[in-house]
């Protein structure tokens, strides 16, 4: 039986915002002026972040997770593939998870097929290929009409996977990306192709499309609770429709962790950077104060039926993660888990059980967190949380998924 897989996710936030950022700026996304970029202070920033991911590999994490964002302070990876290329040369064991390239933002999916194939070869077959459809900010950044993004997205994924699996040259007829000669060199090292992960925010369309193709579904929500369990169950049910058996490794969740010696110490050390992350990085994304561009009629990517479901449950002006007031409020959202190794282990095993998930994608670096504290938290996690979590998760999976014993090892 496989234990839960533990990944280290780095967002690469911009850490040098002025102290009055929240008062002065209505968003950290799209229009946040890049005159705030401090060239002097930012020297060596990417190096520091890449080194932290290399450290994660040394500590024995199952992989490193990267993603794509543009024109914002939340994540400085317009091209996650460049960071992945660097990691392919500096890490040895962990998977390199790019979650993902935002397909509708790119002119031609063939380029993504080529770059991912390169990364898979360069890393010795360690790539997990994630594909994302993009949200509101992305629509504004690259001027992508939202209602069209989904149809571009699934056509692009199918073309990319076919590029990896079918012998070329072949013709792709479109409609979005018609190509006469598809014949990518290189081909990926993994056969039939690198595992595909698709993030989703519980929409039925994404679950259907991912389950039908046998891809892993990654819940992009940052807060956890009953809805996380419901999403896992919905994905399991959707897989069953296509005669596939759900295992915890078909589903992943994002959460954030800070570990220190004691609960109190953990709070003292992480308070500043966590609230920098909540107030600044989430402003414009998952914060009600200011201008959130993540969803709305102006970026109408979901079907009208899905929007109706969302509207019926959504309270306009309700607090979101970025509006979190205090530790108690933070605790309630089960999004950022802060505490001693014991506290974190206890909460994470409960989350594994609740979410029925075998992939924990964990953010360790927040906003303006120092290199020293980020590494300390990662080390304490690897040494004092991960071993117990792996052992206990095996028991949970053996109890809840007994049929997994007979199945092929998860990728």
């Amino acid at each position: 039986m496989h234990p839960v897989k533990l990944f280290c996710w780095h967002f690469m936030a911009y850490p040098y915002l002025p102290e009055d950022f929240d008062e002065k700026y209505d968003t950290g996304w799209v229009t946040v002026p890049n005159s705030l970029w401090n060239r002097e202070k930012a020297k060596g920033l990417y190096q520091e972040y890449i080194d932290q991911l290399v450290y994660a590999d040394e500590l024995g994490f199952d992989g490193m997770v990267l993603n794509e964002h543009h024109q914002n302070i939340y994540g400085l990876m317009p091209s996650p593939n460049m960071i992945a290329a660097a990691l392919s040369q500096r890490t040895k064991n962990g998977k390199i998870v790019v979650l993902g390239n935002i397909l509708p933002m790119h002119l031609n999916p063939l380029r993504i097929a080529e770059e991912y194939a390169m990364l898979d070869c360069m890393s010795g077959g360690r790539l997990i290929a994630g594909f994302a459809v993009g949200g509101g900010p992305e629509a504004f950044n690259y001027d992508v009409p939202s209602p069209r993004a989904r149809r571009q997205f699934w056509e692009a994924i199918d073309l990319i996977v076919k590029t990896w699996t079918d012998d070329g040259p072949f013709v792709h007829e479109g409609p979005e990306y018609p190509l006469r000669y598809v014949n990518a060199w290189p081909r990926p090292e993994q056969t039939p192709h690198p595992p595909v992960w698709v993030p989703g925010a519980r929409s039925r369309e994404t679950m259907e499309n991912a389950a039908q193709r046998g891809y892993a579904y990654f819940l992009s929500s940052r807060s956890h609770g009953d809805q996380t369990r419901q999403a896992a169950e919905a994905y399991a049910a959707t897989m069953a429709k296509y005669d596939r058996s759900y295992t915890p490794f078909d589903f992943g969740i994002l959460l954030s962790v800070y570990v220190s010696e004691t609960d109190e110490q953990a709070k003292i050390e992480s308070r500043e950077s966590i609230w920098y992350f909540l107030r600044n990085c989430l402003k414009g994304h998952l914060r009600t104060k200011g201008r959130t561009l993540t969803w709305g009629p102006g970026v109408p990517s979901t079907s009208p039926e899905s929007w109706r479901g969302f509207l019926e449950n959504w309270q306009f002006g309700a607090d979101q993660l970025g509006d979190t007031r205090d530790w108690e409020d933070l605790d309630r959202r089960a999004s950022i888990i802060v505490g001693s190794p014991e506290t974190v282990r206890e909460k994470l095993i409960a989350l594994v059980e609740l979410a029925q998930t075998g992939n924990l994608l964990i953010q360790f670096h927040f906003g303006n967190m120092s290199d020293e504290l980020a590494r300390k938290s990662m080390r304490l996690f690897a040494e004092r949380v991960a071993p117990a979590l792996r052992a206990e998760s095996k028991d949970v999976f053996a109890r809840d998924f007994p049929e997994m014993e007979r199945m092929e090892p998860a990728q």
Binding site: D143, V144, P145, S146, R148, L293, V299, P304, W307, G317
Partner: protein
Amino acid sequence: MTGALLHAAGSDVWVESLGDGKQVVYLHGIADLHGIETEPMAFHRALAETCSVIAPAHPGCARTEEDETLESMDDVVFHYLRVFDALELDTFTLAGSSLGGWIAAEIAVRHPERIDRLALIGPTCLHVPGHPIGDVFWFAQPDDGVRFDGLRNLLFAGPRSEAGLEMIPDAKDKIEREMGKYRVFRFASLIGFKPPYLYNPRLRERLDRYGGPALILWGENDSMVPRQHADAYFDGLRQARLEVIYGCGHSLIVEAPTGIADIVGEFING
């Protein structure tokens, strides 16, 4: 309910029909019937006192089927040509407000022989360098999760105008109105998000293709489509009359419903 489903070339189109007299096809905008509003408004009812108003809902709006393959203005023009054929309209008057005005202009320059008169009420659609059309997609998301000052400011004469607050209140509106807003923005996004926003870079040079009488109505305080666009229409169309409505913003049919209906009705029957 005076509307009905019309079957036109493989899809269902929702058409509202009001009044008697000379036929006018009216293409809607955002703060409009088939947009945020579900029922005919004061403007449509007033216009129907002097004309036969035929108001189809754009693809995906009201009960008109969404066309998942739709991606360009050409697709919209062909959609409407089929609608006009199904309605057995040969030569008729075409009117449109906001993005409906854009579609009306695109149809008129392609098929001037079918349009005897053209009435454009605050149309989007031209590219006037240095004077971009307002970012209605950006401001469709509220400030602090609840306030629509930005959207009202674009669509009406100021962020707190009475007409604007009534049409787009702060916080969540009735679900059907929210859905109407979502659907009309979805349609607008398909045709008008790229290039940003709501214009066809080639239309201006084609305006002279339409030689019939044209009426251009513009709100004095339209902050969505700058006044320079009105002048560009006036210069580009061969027989245009421009009227600027004082004290109004972009949504003339909401801000001055009976006054606009009178001017448009007179023009149609002129």
